[in-house]
Symmetry: C2
Subunit: 256 residues, 2 copies
DNA sequence: ATATGTGAATCAGTTCACAGCG
DNA sequence: CGCTGTGAACTGATTCACATAT
């Protein structure tokens, strides 16, 4: 194996690991903050601390983009901001549609994070005829019937789904058919999409369940889970947060 | 070196990989749907398809929980629902507070995903005195001043931060000091927490930037198919702000 | 002297492929 | 048989540690 095809051309922007891509926005945010404070340069150590990662990882990440630092000195903040922005495709304008203007959709439309950084809410779409024409975040809601036309007229390639779960796949199919190739899904459903379409999901319920898992573990670390405790011990367990062993173990057991 | 932190090879299958934990809610959702349709058993193949993963991964995941399947048959739906629920800590009640009742916080309070599965919105907290007493999703908003008391009175161990970025760390510190040990952060900030506190973040802006990265690459790839000449056809899509402009370097990226 | 950039080592997660059980 | 459960191989990500450049 490994005959041939393994070596990548060392040119930048080819083959950046997914995990690295996912951290670039984090670095960018930290750098932007530094830029606003007119900090001219930053070391991998400092920047890593600001982004909440370790410095070796950060350097490795940046090495995939190219050699943008200066040995013995650090990284030029402005220059890095520009390079990362470009790498992420933020130097261009991305029109986005939000489908499903309920509580969440409306909140997203109003969310500042959308407007910043090259993302522009091009249209809001909802299935409820009563919503049609009503402005949300200053943008009139349009009816689902016109979805395809809206996508095409605005050259939209990124769609946000904030519909109820039951409608999500259907909306997704229509978005994809109309030309959308990236979807951010807030509906609690697994979306099926053809190859070439990226889906990222944001799922509140899943995040909470993951937290609950760890929370449960903290609360009863030694008692096996064989017996489902009635567990109203949550309140009692709270106080245990104060004590944390240095290298752990021997967690306080809390009887109800 | 690194102080050989051997993961605990506990007597039983304690030590479920993080990646597996993150998928359990997905399986649970698929199983719940089957359960509602009164499907008695399901194979790893079918369930994997419903959850959007591959079947080997699913079987491996389940193997960390124990041997809950029957060879030649599959998994008992009801039984698995119970086992996964228990593993995730969903057989108990988790009171949750939401801090920051703006558009997003209100949407979260109204979100159905919260109410289901053992999570209960115990309180809504906001810094705006004008909000105090106003009901959101049927729950009166309380003022930040009372945060500590609210946490303690309700035995809250999971907090959701939906404040503006500037307030998030401060809120986080107070939550942790009051006994919260799991935080779901919607604010676009890296939170610093002591050991023993779990943070998960949900960041719209980051997700969009990741999508933009892939989107940009799709656009650029159509022409650079390794064989074709550098046709200008798809170059139109790629705005080609390729290298630094002759004059200003200042990128026109505005943060928020 | 100092901090980057990167091979090499390590660790985590995924997939394979088949033994083992119903 | 069919389908689970799992060692083994593999792939990807992280961390280490130091040569390298300023």
């Amino acid at each position: 194996m490994a005959t041939g095809r393994t070596h990548r051309p060392a040119t930048r922007s080819r083959g950046i690991p997914e995990a690295t891509v996912a951290r670039l926005p984090l670095y960018l945010r930290a750098l932007t903050a530094l830029s606003e404070r007119s900090v001219p340069t930053v070391s991998s150590e400092e920047l890593a601390a600001a982004a909440g990662v370790n410095s070796a990882k950060l350097r490795k990440d940046f090495s995939y983009l190219g050699s943008y630092g200066t040995r013995g000195v650090g990284y030029d903040v402005e220059y890095l901001v520009y390079q990362i922005s470009r790498e992420l495709g933020l130097t261009q304008d991305w029109p986005v549609v939000i489908v499903g203007i309920g509580n969440l959709g409306a909140a997203l439309a109003n969310y500042g994070g959308f407007a910043s950084r090259g993302f522009r809410v091009a249209a809001l779409i909802d299935a409820d005829p009563a919503m049609a024409g009503k402005p949300v975040a200053g943008i009139p809601v349009q009816h689902t019937d016109d979805l395809e036309k809206i996508i095409q007229d605005n050259g939209v390639s990124i769609g946000v789904i904030a519909t109820p779960a039951g409608a999500a796949q259907q909306v997704c199919d229509r978005l994809v058919a109309a030309g959308v190739t990236s979807i951010l899904n807030f509906a609690p459903t697994v979306l099926n999409v053809p190859d070439g379409v990226d889906v990222r999901k944001v799922d509140l319920s899943i995040e909470l369940q993951i937290l609950a898992f760890h929370e449960q573990r903290k609360a009863g670390e030694e008692s096996a889970a064989d017996t489902a405790l009635p567990a109203a011990a949550a309140a009692a367990a709270r106080k245990a947060s104060a004590d944390q062993g240095p290298d752990g173990d021997v967690p306080a057991v809390m009887p109800a």
